[in-house]
């Protein structure tokens, strides 16, 4: 039951192109790195990528056969699997989808991609699928790589042994694809799917004997079909021993490169340098782009407001609610895009799997797994794709622990908040101190994640055995087209998943700050007031009498006072539940209006001015001191301030337990630590 729901959910988010029920369905399956996703791209022309890192296809992806094949059929892609016996959630998704897809039912044809350079391994899955009763076609990939070893596969012979069609393909050059579709067409026209379905059954868990027997068969087959491609070579030359060692040797270049990249010393140095490059590029490349998006939306907002009648609730809704809401969604896109391009590069070259291997041992100390590395790294862009990426972790407990700590990773939404608060703390003459501070915050978020994971794993023991079995794909030159497509897809997932929540909460916040006193009456006795000043007083009065202010003053102020904050900070914190970055624009709304500030400056400078002018509730002390601002930073490091993350964590773990724990534990931690920071600093005399 739970499995069915899981599959359905995945399907909902993974669907790019809808396939109608009447159309036949071709399912693509294959072992990780067997060229399955490249084939999917070539068949459908859809926006997907080939993955070098096992488990990159974390969602189903569906598409229709490209028009040039002149045949109407849906195509279904799924995560790579090793056998029909799943060992991780992503494999479960793939296998469940094959046998009982929530929407498409059974596929008419199954195309299995098989890497011809490791045919004895790849035929294992092929044989299992054939034995399950599916109408199957083999698409042999990597034939050129095998050719470089001086070998080739006799596809006719293989077809004869297995009793199914075998087609050699090269997805990048497009060879063999038409033939593959022709074979699929024949099967689809020949067999009725209802008739087939009675013959298909899911195999039970295999025994050691069954696996050994299956491998005996694949080895036997390998001996029959693997031949020298040089026809001149006489049988005598094909020394049995040489032939045997040649056929099962991994890619020579990869073995050479691994001596360096997986070197006990140099491997670690390379790892640290590559991570360093990733994080510095997030800062130095993304920040100006984020500023650009930010200012683009502010100028759009002011341009639109010129066209709308002033002082009506709907003009305010459009400029302050809708446009700013969209702006807060789009402002993270540059950072997410840059991180995913870099991750994609590492993935496509084959390095990411090695990085996971290098970091496995240290991560196990905190109850995590080498496979937690990629989700954690993605968490620095956005927790949403990061939590979804945790599906490749087979151990349930480690997977949940990884999901648990992902919100602590310093996601891109925190960057604008930190940038603002650090700018407040650091004098403008020494901006490099802010840079160091930001680096320290990033490092600290990693440490706090590790500490939390370590503490949880101390208290909660599990019987489930932890494993780390990861195929290291051959090193390849990355294909930029694929990386960009994949980055586009992942960024789109972010916009689709997080976007609506952020916009809805932005609108809600707008309503709370705008109503009920939509046109406050003010006294304009003196004639020296300009229209601009009148507007500001109106806005200020409206906010001061708004629902948000009422809630803020009576609910938040008592709670936040021990941390040195007032109701306006409280309202900004609540709005940050849409996305942490909304804190900045909410501060702009709550402070710019209530405090005197110069609107001609840019957003950050005007907020900073308002922050410096802001007084505490009794009006005697400045509200933002070094202590209360540092406490705010500490709060943001821990607080679970993102409803989209809560929603995704609920979906991915299948219950409310983890998301509720995240909300309660992290918010409590954030509050306590901010309290300690504020009062501790005050005791030390730092105000």
């Amino acid at each position: 039951m739970a499995q069915a729901t899981k599959a359905q959910n995945c399907h909902e988010t993974g669907t790019l192109t809808e396939i109608t029920n009447e159309k036949p369905v071709i399912a693509l399956i294959g072992m990780p790195n067997s060229g399955k996703t490249t084939l999917f791209n070539s068949l459908t022309g859809s926006n997907f990528k080939t993955s070098n890192y096992p488990g990159a296809t974390v969602e189903y992806s569906t598409g229709n056969l490209a028009g040039k094949y002149d045949f109407e059929s849906g195509v279904l892609d799924s995560p790579g699997i090793v056998s029909l016996n799943p060992s991780s959630p992503d494999e479960e998704i793939a296998i469940d989808g094959l046998f009982n897809h929530p929407r498409f039912g059974l596929p008419n044809v199954v195309i299995i991609t098989a890497d011809s350079t490791q045919i004895s391994r790849q035929l294992f899955l092929v044989k299992q699928v054939i034995d399950s009763g599916f109408k199957t076609i083999i698409a042999l990939t990597m034939n050129d790589l095998l050719g470089r070893k001086g070998l080739e596969i006799d596809s006719e012979k293989l077809s004869e042994v297995l009793g199914i069609p075998v087609v050699k393909i090269n997805s990048k050059k497009g060879t063999g694809l038409r033939e593959l579709i022709e074979e699929s067409k024949k099967i689809i026209l020949l067999y009725n799917i209802e008739h087939l379905s009675s013959k298909i059954y899911k195999p039970s868990h295999p025994t050691e004997e069954a696996i050994a027997k299956l491998y005996d068969f694949t080895e036997e087959t390998e001996q029959k079909v693997l031949i020298h491609n040089d026809k001149q070579v006489s049988i005598d030359v094909i020394n049995k021993k040489v032939f045997r060692t040649l056929q099962r040797k991994p890619d020579e270049n990869s073995m050479k490169l691994d001596k360096f990249f997986l070197h006990p010393f140099w491997g670690i140095i390379i790892f640290i340098i590559s991570m360093g490059i990733i994080f510095t590029s997030i800062f130095w490349i993304a920040q100006p782009l984020m500023d650009l998006v930010d200012s683009a939306f502010s100028s759009l907002s002011s341009a639109v407001s010129n066209f709308l009648p002033g002082n009506t609730w709907y003009s305010d809704l459009i400029t302050n609610g809708v446009i700013n809401g969209f702006g807060s969604v789009m402002v993270f896109v540059p950072q997410i895009v840059i991180l995913f391009i870099l991750l994609g590069l590492l993935e496509d070259t084959g390095y990411l799997a090695r990085a996971a291997m290098l970091i496995d041992r240290p991560l196990t100390k905190f109850g995590l797994n080498g496979r937690s590395f990629i989700p954690m790294l993605s968490g620095y862009a956005c927790a949403i794709p990061a939590i979804m990426a945790a599906r490749t972790i087979s151990n349930r407990y480690e997977r949940f622990l990884t999901i648990m700590i992902i919100p602590l990773m310093s996601c891109s939404a925190r960057l604008p908040v930190y940038a603002l608060l650090l700018a407040f703390l650091v004098p403008p003459s020494t901006p490099w101190i802010a840079g160091i501070g930001l680096g320290a915050l990033y490092l600290f978020s990693l440490i706090s994640g590790a500490v939390v994971a370590g503490i949880i794993s101390k208290f909660k023991k599990t019987d489930e055995k932890s494993t780390f079995m990861l195929e290291l794909p051959p090193y390849r030159t990355p294909v930029f087209r694929h990386i960009f497509k994949n980055t586009y897809y992942k960024s789109a997932v972010y916009v689709k998943q997080a976007g609506p929540t952020i916009i809805i909460i932005s609108l809600l916040l707008w309503a709370l700050t705008y109503f009920p006193n939509t046109s406050p009456q003010i006294e304009t006795g003196s004639s020296n007031v300009t229209e601009q000043q009148i507007n500001r007083i109106i806005e200020s009065e409206r906010l001061n009498t708004s629902y948000a202010a009422t809630i803020g003053k009576y609910v938040f102020e008592p709670v936040l006072k021990p941390l040195g904050w007032d109701w306006r900070v409280g309202v900004s914190l609540i709005s940050a539940f849409a996305a942490r970055e909304v804190f900045v624009s909410a501060m702009a709304i709550t402070f710019n209006i209530t405090e005197d500030s110069d609107n001609s400056d840019n957003l950050q400078k005007s907020i900073l001015t308002s922050m410096r002018n802001a007084k505490s509730t009794d009006g005697t002390q400045p509200l933002f001191t070094t202590a209360s601002t540092i406490a705010l930073i500490i709060y943001f490091m821990f607080a679970m301030q993102c409803l989209s993350t809560v929603a995704v964590a609920r979906k991915e773990t299948g219950s409310w337990k983890i998301p509720l724990m995240q909300i309660v534990v992290y918010t409590f931690m954030a509050y306590i630590l901010a309290f300690i920071t504020y009062n501790g600093l005050n005791l030390l005399g730092i105000r």
């Binding site: 090793v82 056998s83 016996n85 060992s87 890497d115 350079t117 490791q118 045919i119 004895s120 391994r121 294992f124 868990h205 295999p206 025994t207 050691e208 696996i211 050994a212 491998y215 060692t245 056929q247 099962r248 040797k249 991994p250 990869s254 073995m255 691994d258 001596k259 997986l262 070197h263 006990p264 010393f265 491997g267 670690i268 799997a353 090695r354 996971a356 291997m357 290098l358 496995d360 041992r361 080498g370 055995k465 494993t467 780390f468 079995m469 990861l470 195929e471 290291l472």
Partner: protein, 85 residues
Amino acid sequence: MNSKSVADLNIGESAVITSVGDDCIDVHCHCLRLMELGFTPGQEVTVVAKSPFKNPLAISVRGTIIALRKGEAECIKINSNGSGD
């Protein structure tokens, strides 16, 4: 019965698998998975690389390289005359 395993091999050394999971305490350990991945008796394996602390190890089998933890590699028993050819 010798108990030499893949974990005992040095980088670059090869050996032939004799059994998988014979001494494993847990019946439902991941030995079946190891076999599914291609580590079956009779196969030749080579240790390609080792992480710092010698864990995990990168092992070549059936034309691919698979990273395994030391504990998993210890489930894969080999013949005692493993050589560095």
